[in-house]
């Protein structure tokens, strides 16, 4: 997973230190001149996708990784969130400004950052860039991709086992290839467990990133599903998913399945945690922490990191104990995937 030459590491570290020095000298208006030591320059900068740091899901997972780096390693962190309707030019300028300000690594969260990370990384060969959910080319780029379909498969198994009505639902934020992976794994997991089961699939938007922020629309969609006797709803829609969870919590005998973070543990969703069956977790925090600590120890990661069930990059949350009774079935399903007996499709 790591292909790092000592030379590159040394160059990066030296350059980072040089950047730190120049950043301190030229830009004292920021008031954050203090270097944290190591190779991280001003610290780690995270550029979030729409929805922002506190979406209790995808972005928050990345933030948790960076927060952990701050606590454990003393690395400074800087966050900035994307606005709705951004273009590649906006994303590029955000990454550029972060690199210019001396942050290292600079991490783009979300596949939309793929092309911009690739371009900006060429401009700043001495800064390490990270990108979540996309593979970007470059010697100074670490791409983090996740086997969302594998975790979603387990979510499908859990949904099928817990459903009383024989109908389970999937709500996706935007009908894109990435979210299709969640759907594909979930459907396959549910069908493999109970061939008779009906999976109700809905997307909030076909082609508009608003689907990751439109909480009201997700709530509406979940309401519709509940009306059609669906009693387990898995929502992969970032911040928007909170609406779905809220709606499910207001119904009797229905379960929500969270995504990306352990949503039952999120303070923002605390009042609904008894309705959250489990969450299909993407270890974005683990990946982000690994990258930051690799810079901190002057041994920057590069290449592509693939996170799946096998290397505990994705998993199913157990908090609340709602799936303890089906733990055996889930373990079995996981074993079959890890050992290659079950091939989880990433397209529906």
């Amino acid at each position: 997973m790591r292909r790092v030459s000592k030379l590159a590491a040394t160059v990066a570290a030296t350059a980072a230190l040089a950047l730190t020095a120049s950043a301190c000298g030229s830009d004292d208006s920021t008031g954050s001149g203090g270097s944290s030591g190591g190779g991280t320059g001003e610290g780690a900068a995270i550029a979030f996708d729409v929805g922002g740091r506190d979406d209790a899901s995808f972005n928050e997972a990345a933030a948790r990784g960076a927060d952990k780096a701050k606590n454990d390693l003393g690395v400074e962190t800087y966050y900035q969130t994307a606005r709705d309707d951004e273009t590649d030019a906006d994303r590029e300028q955000r990454l550029q400004q972060m690199a210019e300000a001396g942050y290292n690594p600079v991490i783009g969260v979300g596949y939309l950052y793929g092309p911009s990370v690739e371009r900006v990384a060429q401009e700043f060969p001495d800064t390490t860039f990270g990108v979540v959910d996309a593979v970007a080319e470059g010697d100074n780029v670490y791409s983090m991709i996740f086997a969302e379909h594998e975790a979603s498969y387990l979510a499908g198994v859990a949904a099928a086992l817990k459903s009383e009505t024989g109908k389970v639902g999937f709500i996706g934020g935007v009908d894109t290839t990435l979210i299709n992976k969640f759907q594909a794994g979930y459907e396959q997991g549910a069908k493999d467990t109970d061939p008779e089961i009906e999976v109700d699939v809905q997307y909030l938007y076909t082609d508009d990133p608003k689907g990751f922020t439109d909480v009201a629309k997700a709530k509406e969609q979940a309401n519709g599903m509940l009306g059609r006797d669906v009693d387990v709803i898995y929502t992969a829609a970032g911040l928007a998913g909170n609406g779905s969870i809220e709606e499910v919590a207001s119904a009797e005998n229905a379960w929500a399945i969270g995504v990306d973070s352990d949503q039952a543990e999120q303070p923002g969703l605390a009042e609904y945690k008894d309705s959250i069956l489990t969450s299909a977790i993407k270890g974005v925090d683990v990946a982000v922490f690994d990258l930051i600590s690799s810079i901190d120890s002057d041994d920057p990661m590069s290449g592509t990191g693939e996170y799946g069930l096998a290397n505990d990059g994705v998993w199913l949350a157990t908090s609340g104990g709602h799936i303890d009774d089906i733990a055996d079935e889930l373990d079995e399903a996981k074993r079959r995937i890890v050992e290659g007996e079950t091939e989880v499709s990433d397209t529906p």
């Binding site: 208006s29 920021t30 008031g31 800087y78 900035q80 969130t81 606005r83 709705d84 309707d85 951004e86 273009t87 590649d88 030019a89 906006d90 300028q93 955000r94 400004q97 300000a101 596949y111 939309l112 793929g114 092309p115 959910d133 996309a134 593979v135 935007v174 009908d175 894109t176 290839t177 990435l178 938007y205 076909t206 082609d207 508009d208 990133p209």
Partner: protein, 419 residues
């Protein structure tokens, strides 16, 4: 204020005559630089003579006071908001100015302003005849999508292919807007409703075709149309601080064409006449229905150009990362620029400037959301101040005319008295 209108006609009370003369007061009010320019040609003496004319002075006063009021109000409000967040507004302005005027920023701002300006022109064509084309957003996306599909399927060399791509975009944009125009003219359906609905339909249409195996190919999580060959990209201008998109030429051409069409042609006159009063226009022989369809088609064709800077100068394909929402930005910019070709250019640049510097503010400890607040405040203060100044101008004019009439009546009395 319910409908954005062109620069208020302060002096001309008699509607059609006002819209007819090429040197109408509306234009003079909106374009003091242009008016001064035409004065220069005839020599300084003429200009001075013009300035001493109280009616010209009156127009200038109104023309200057509206933007001045808007700027002052916006500035004060923004200061108050930033102060309320416990930060220093002046430091923020200074940082924005310093960062926004660096070479790289200037290039970025110019490139960013190109689609904004085109969107504003598209919206303004509708505004000038009281048509709300809210659908520029859907129009440019559908247009850019099909233009990208056509461009990706052909390999003819730039000289042939670039015009084909641009033409495709304009035709598709015009057709998409034309649906709303047709429904308005034939069925009387409000264009506000239809264009908003067409935006949603546009999103679904693109979503349907933008799938692997249909009209698109997949690159990891980004699905996009096949790349347009390098030879069919638009030229760029290398400044040393970044590349300026060559499509800036398209924006300038669109601005000039907009100005010429509206103020120098019969069609433009008809269009503005319908905007002032459709019943009066109808009575004087203008077919309002034809104008509605025609202006929606033109508006849509210009909207089709909005995606071209991104398509031909940047991405080279239409993917699920193609910018959306520029059409709505265009509405704000058209309002801000008072539908004037130069005004909208300044507004588009201002918008791009704010977006460039917003991110920078975040680095020095301000909230980047302050930029959104600024944009909102600026649009509101412009709309409100122009309306206030228009009313104030009307009252002022009534007072002046009243005083003149009273004075004349008095002299008449004395004359009669002597006789």
């Amino acid at each position: 204020m319910s409908r954005p209108e062109d620069s208020p006609p302060p002096a001309g009370g008699e509607g059609s005559g006002n819209a007819g003369s090429s040197d109408d007061p509306g234009k003079a009010a909106a374009a003091p630089p242009g008016a001064a320019g035409s004065g220069n040609r005839s020599g300084g003496g003429f200009l001075a003579a013009k300035l001493s004319d109280p009616r010209v002075r009156e127009k200038l006063l109104l023309a200057v006071s509206a933007p001045l009021l808007a700027l002052t109000v916006a500035f004060v409000l923004v200061c108050l908001v930033i102060t309320a967040t416990g930060q220093n507004p002046f430091h923020a302005f200074e940082a924005m100015f310093n960062y926004g005027t660096t070479d790289r920023s200037q290039v970025w701002i110019l490139n960013k302003a190109i689609p904004y300006y085109l969107a504003a022109v598209a919206v303004a064509i509708g505004f000038r005849m009281n048509l709300f084309n809210i659908g520029v957003d859907g129009q440019y996306q559908v247009a850019a999508f099909f233009a990208a599909v056509v461009g990706g399927a052909l390999a003819l060399g730039g000289f042939v292919q670039i015009p084909i791509i641009i033409l495709t975009a304009m035709v598709v944009g015009a057709l998409w807007a034309g649906i709303a125009g047709y429904l308005k003219a034939v069925r009387g359906v409000s264009e506000v409703i239809t264009t908003i609905m067409l935006n949603a339909i546009a999103g679904s249409l693109i979503g349907y075709f933008l799938k692997e195996g249909r009209l698109a190919e997949r690159n990891q999580n980004i699905v996009h149309t096949p790349d347009i060959p390098e030879s069919s990209r638009f030229f760029t201008i290398d400044t040393g601080a970044g590349l300026i998109y060559g499509t800036v030429v398209i924006a300038i051409a669109a601005g000039v064409a907009y100005w010429y069409l509206l103020s120098r042609t019969r069609f433009g006159f008809d269009l503005r006449a319908v905007g002032v009063s459709d019943s009066a226009a109808e009575a004087s022989g203008v077919s309002v229905k034809r104008m509605v369809v025609a202006s929606m088609l033109i508006s849509g064709a210009v909207a089709g150009l909005v995606g071209m800077p991104t398509l031909l100068n940047d991405t080279g394909n239409f993917g699920n990362n193609f910018p959306s929402g520029i059409g709505f930005m265009g509405i704000a910019i058209a309002l801000l620029g008072r539908n004037h070709p130069v005004g909208m250019a300044l507004a588009a640049l201002l918008w791009a400037f704010l977006e460039r510097t917003g991110g920078h503010l975040n680095f020095i400890g301000y909230y980047q959301e302050i930029i959104g607040v600024m944009q909102g405040i600026i649009v509101l203060s412009v709309v409100v101040s122009y309306e206030l100044v228009r009313r104030w101008g009307l009252r002022r004019q009534q007072r002046i005319v009243g005083a003149e009439l009273a004075a004349r009546a008095r002299t008449n009395d004395t004359v009669e008295g002597v006789a």
